[in-house]
């Protein structure tokens, strides 16, 4: 039997908002919130009032009007008669293309450089230190311009490929490096090519299944099957066989000099390459530092323990150190991805038509709708940044230390 009783609960009275310490903080917070809202609504009202006084009314009708300008890199159908909205979408897709390519290569470069920075080889270690310091400490805009100008100055113009004894020639007669970009062969899909593609897709599933099986076998019986060459065999074997069975349905269209430019094939424009390389190596340098920090955060005892079990250095890194280091690496990696995506807005420096170049550039200029365009740009970058953040957080939750 308990003798302790709760004090009788007092009914709530208005005066308690002020007198009772339990409620007083809420009162102050509510007042502060109201003041904040009042301040912001005053500022926004002031802005709108001034805009109206200056004859600038917010309107998004311009998005439906014909854009009137052409864009060179068009992931979707677009011509100068398409609307400003479509031009913006082309820009958004171009931003996503360079951000996607950049994030992948930056990760590869960054992880490689980060691991090599801890190498026992003095030369490798110092080379990586030079790379990281050089690229991390020069603004990315400079790198974009440097790479672009070097490309346009060093690579031959298409007209150098012309004539009886051309000054420049194509690599394997298939790839042309020009100062307008790199022209690569384009695959032509004929009837029956679908079968080959499906076979290849199934092969990828097969590879995943095989690797799962080897892992399971290793954990259960300790037997280690080879993984390298069977992966390659499963990946390409069936597809190659099917390619010949179906009578070679996939052919390549080679770029050829015709008129002013190379025609045919796929053109990877110089602006995309310059932007892609610059963003990758710049962000890669930051990622390298994150990776190094992550690896060094893992106690040396882990490496020694793994070594005493007889693991080779490569296995120690891949099986023991990196999985733990990822927990430290992922959070700053997210912000590097965001940085890369946002830095891609420097694209206009080399004439790459990203969303800042179309919506925030030409559309803004031609329509004079600066405020609307900038608002839409902010909305886009906010959305894409939050999406990347969310995806990476899901990944982070999947690999972080599960506390039980």
């Amino acid at each position: 039997m308990t003798t302790v009783t709760d004090p009788p609960r007092q009914a709530f009275q208005i005066s308690m908002l002020w007198n009772d310490t339990r409620y007083r903080s809420y009162t102050f917070q509510a007042i502060a919130l109201l003041l904040l809202i009042a301040a912001f609504s005053y500022l926004i009202g002031n802005l709108l009032e001034n805009l109206r006084a200056a004859g600038l009314n917010i309107s998004f009708e311009f998005l439906g009007q014909p854009a009137g300008y052409d864009i060179n890199q068009r992931p979707i159908e677009y011509n100068s008669q398409s609307s400003h909205l479509r031009a913006s979408i082309v820009g958004i897709l171009n931003t996503l293309i360079v951000a996607f390519l950049g994030c992948i290569t930056a990760t590869i470069i960054g992880v490689t450089a980060g691991v090599l920075r801890l190498s026992n080889n003095w030369l490798v270690r110092k080379l990586m230190a030079v790379y990281v310091e050089a690229f991390r400490n020069v603004p990315v805009l400079i790198w974009i311009l440097v790479i672009f100008f070097v490309m346009t100055a060093a690579l031959p113009a298409p007209r150098a490929f012309r004539g009886e004894t051309p000054q420049a020639s194509m690599l394997f007669d298939a790839v042309a490096f020009t100062n307008r970009g790199v022209y690569i062969p384009k695959p032509i899909w004929e009837t029956g090519s679908m079968v080959v593609v499906i076979t290849f897709a199934l092969s990828i599933l097969g590879v995943i299944a095989y690797r799962r099986y080897t892992t399971k076998l290793l954990y259960e019986t300790g037997k280690l099957l080879p993984r390298g060459w069977p992966t390659l065999a499963i990946l390409f074997g069936p597809a190659v066989v099917m390619f010949f069975v179906m009578g070679q349905p996939i052919s390549l269209e080679y770029p050829a000099l015709k008129g002013f430019n190379f025609q045919g094939g796929v053109q990877v424009r110089g602006s995309l390459i310059a932007l892609w390389i610059a963003l990758s190596v710049y962000t890669g340098a930051f990622i390298a530092e994150n990776v190094r920090a992550g690896i060094q955060a893992i106690s040396k005892g882990q490496t020694e323990a793994a070594a005493s079990l007889g693991l080779r250095p490569g296995r120690i890194m891949n099986l023991v150190v990196l999985p733990q280091a990822l927990r430290v690496i992922i959070p700053p990696l997210i912000s590097q991805y965001l940085n890369l995506t946002k830095n891609s807005s420097l694209a206009i420096a080399v004439g790459y038509m990203d969303v800042t170049g179309t919506l925030g550039g030409i559309t803004l200029n031609q329509t004079g709708r600066a405020i609307e365009s900038v608002l839409l740009l902010m909305l886009f970058y906010l959305t894409i940044s939050l999406t990347i953040s969310a995806l990476m957080n899901v990944y982070n939750n999947a690999i972080k230390l599960k506390e039980r």
Binding site: A39, Y42, L43, N46, L47, E49, N50, A53, A54, G55, L56, G68, Y69, D70, I71, N72, N79, S80, Q81, F149, T152, A153, P156, A157, P158, R159, A160, N179, R180, K258, G259, F260, N261, Q263, G270, S271, I348, A349, G351, M353, G357, G361, I362, L364, N365, Q366, T367, G368, A370
Partner: protein
């Protein structure tokens, strides 16, 4: 501390709203300085010379306005603007007048709420190609790569021209003239397109100007002129009539050489000259300036013809002929309304 900061922020927001509505002419007089928006650097039109002094055809108009209003052709703050920033700079009041090879179009006049106060150069969009390309007409440019400054009317004209002629091209957008020059010379584009005057100015700076030709097609009308904000008519009048004074001066034979003697003589047989120079009538008073405002404007760099000859005429490296920009009496389009 925080409170004062917030309050001053509010105060600043309120002030900015108030300042924009006052008359620009009074602002300029009170400030003692004209804020003139110009190009970031286009030789012949607006570019700093070896001494860092801004020189050029557009700059000369800015100086004439400053002389008319403030009696000092150097009381100017030159604000470099790009094709992208120029309209925001003018709309926000950062500059008083924009003289930057800006094409007078319907939408800029009506939608962007600016007032074009005349035309100081009649231009048209042209194409420049290397001579060894062997192209003699823009219609042979099917499949060519074209360098083009973004944020200008030229990219719309270009799209229209190629669509109308049903030929394809690849646009390479570039930010500044200097960058376009570099791309064009490196062969990253086959063709460089902008206003014909700009092409001539750019070609003049090449190591070997003769290796490049301007194609005969002029694909657009580009009346370039100074512009001010909508709704400030007094200031618009000052800019408009300063330009007209320079044009009329050429028509009537007022030059920097004979200006002083004309003012002194005030010959009754030439009433319009006297009205311009302020020795007869009260024209200056009507636009809120001193009687000798136009004389001061002409004194800076001479009349329109002198300014043209000195900065972009055939004797200069840019070498532009008068063409459309001759007086109407010489078969050109320059036609100033009368001073009376």
């Amino acid at each position: 501390m925080k409170k004062t900061l917030l309050l001053s922020a509010f105060a600043a927001a309120g002030m900015a709203a108030g300042a924009a509505s006052a008359g620009t002419l009074d602002d300029v007089k009170a400030r003692g300085k004209l804020n003139c928006g110009t190009n970031t650097g286009l030789v012949g039109f607006a570019a700093p010379d070896a001494n860092g002094e801004w020189q050029g055809f557009d700059v000369a108009l800015c100086r004439a306005i400053a002389a008319a209003v403030l009696d000092d052709p150097n009381a100017i703050e030159f604000v470099s603007t790009t094709g992208k920033t120029r309209f925001t700079a003018l709309a926000s009041g950062e500059i008083d007048v924009l003289v930057r090879n800006t094409t007078w179009t319907f939408s800029r006049d009506a939608d962007l709420k600016f007032e074009f106060t005349g035309v100081n150069y009649y231009d048209g969009q042209g194409f420049m190609v290397p001579k060894d390309l062997g192209v003699s007409s823009a219609k042979e440019l099917d499949g060519a790569t074209v360098c083009i400054q973004t944020g200008t009317t030229t990219e719309l004209n270009l799209a229209d021209f190629f669509r109308a002629n049903n030929i394809s091209y690849e646009p390479v957008p570039i930010e500044t003239n200097a960058e376009g020059q570099q791309q064009y010379l490196a062969g990253a584009c086959d063709v460089y397109t902008t206003d014909a005057s700009g092409l001539a100015a750019t070609r003049a700076t090449f190591e070997d100007p003769d290796a490049h030709v301007l194609l005969p097609e002029i694909i657009s009308k580009e009346p370039l002129g100074p512009l001010v904000r909508h709704g400030d008519n007094e200031w618009g009048d000052v800019v408009r009539w300063t330009l007209n004074a320079l044009i009329s001066a050429e028509e009537l034979g007022i030059t920097s050489a004979n200006l002083a003697s004309l003012v002194e003589a005030a010959d009754p047989s030439t009433p319009e000259i006297n009205r311009i120079l302020g020795t007869e009538g009260t024209l200056g008073e009507m636009i809120g300036l001193d009687p000798d405002w136009a004389a001061r404007a002409i004194a800076v760099g001479g009349n329109y013809g002198e300014i043209f000859a000195k900065n972009i005429g055939e004797e200069t490296p840019i070498g532009l002929a008068r063409g459309l920009n001759a007086q109407w009496t010489d078969g050109g389009l320059l036609y100033s309304p009368p001073f009376r």
